[in-house]
């Protein structure tokens, strides 16, 4: 079993959102996901970064966003953590409910859940940790790398 881990500490800025998305796209491509899956993974990370920067840290320059990628034999695991008040996922309204369809916000977590295989939200008083997993599915013609 092998594992590669990379982590970043980022400012609470819009640039962080863009850079998290780009890094996720690169990591997903390196993990062997196809273009559509790469787009979904990078978008999930973008949405998570938006939550961390805007709703978690509220652009506070004194608060940081931690972003980590771990590639295991079977998964790409992505963790993003903010230093906000802690997100109460139970209070997020269902964006697909008829009364919420025309709301202009509130779709971020829904999109993350749609695009990733496993999504865990761990709120605490010192921030929210969002852990996302995408399973790596080997293609039929994939082969073991030569030793």
């Amino acid at each position: 079993m092998s594992s590669n881990r990379l982590s970043y500490t980022l400012d609470s800025t819009l640039e962080t959102v863009n850079s998290a998305e780009e890094t996720a796209g690169r990591m997903a491509a390196e993990a062997g996901f196809d273009d559509e899956e790469v787009m979904k993974i990078s978008m999930a990370v973008r949405e998570a970064a938006v939550n961390a920067v805007l709703h978690g840290n509220a652009y506070d320059p004194n608060k940081k966003v931690m972003l980590a990628f771990e590639r295991t034999d079977h998964d790409l695991v992505i963790v993003i953590r903010d230093q906000g008040k802690g997100l109460d996922a139970g209070k997020i309204p269902d964006p697909l409910a008829p009364e919420n369809l025309l709301k202009t916000s509130g779709r971020g977590i829904f999109l993350i859940r749609s695009f990733m295989d496993v999504v865990e939200i761990h709120p605490s008083r010192t921030g929210t940790e969002l852990r996302m997993i995408k399973h790596v599915r080997p293609t039929a013609d994939s082969k073991e790398a030569p030793q």
Partner: protein, 115 residues
């Protein structure tokens, strides 16, 4: 890639050709300002051509919803034209595809405003 917007008139309909990304920040602001500007000038038949919009995030989706409801609330009408597969899929999973009036052909879209 930043977002660009240009407008043209066809048979009383304002077609807004958008290109780039509609995302949190500049892209969403360009869309918001463009639609508000058109409505303030009384141009209330708006067709958003999304053929060259290659990416949209949840903020961009929210901005499309806002453009739609703002137009409607001001007695206007807003339709979408030429969705890319990515945008089409996003509107499907968010159940917004049936909320918006989505067209595939410009001429028939323009005609639909004037029926």
């Amino acid at each position: 890639m930043t977002m660009k917007s240009s407008t043209r008139q066809v048979d009383g309909v304002t077609i807004v050709d958008l290109s780039g990304r509609i995302t949190l920040g500049e892209g969403s602001i360009v869309l918001r300002d463009t639609v508000r500007d058109l409505l303030s000038k009384g141009q209330k038949k708006i067709l958003l051509n999304l053929a060259d919009v290659n990416y949209i995030d949840s903020s961009g989706i929210g901005e499309l919803v806002s453009a739609y409801t703002t137009s409607k609330n001001q007695g206007g009408e807003l339709k979408l034209l030429h969705l890319t597969k990515k945008v089409h899929d996003l509107l499907q999973i968010t159940k917004l595809y049936t909320v918006f009036d989505v067209k595939d052909d410009e001429a028939s879209a323009v005609k639909a405003f004037n029926q």
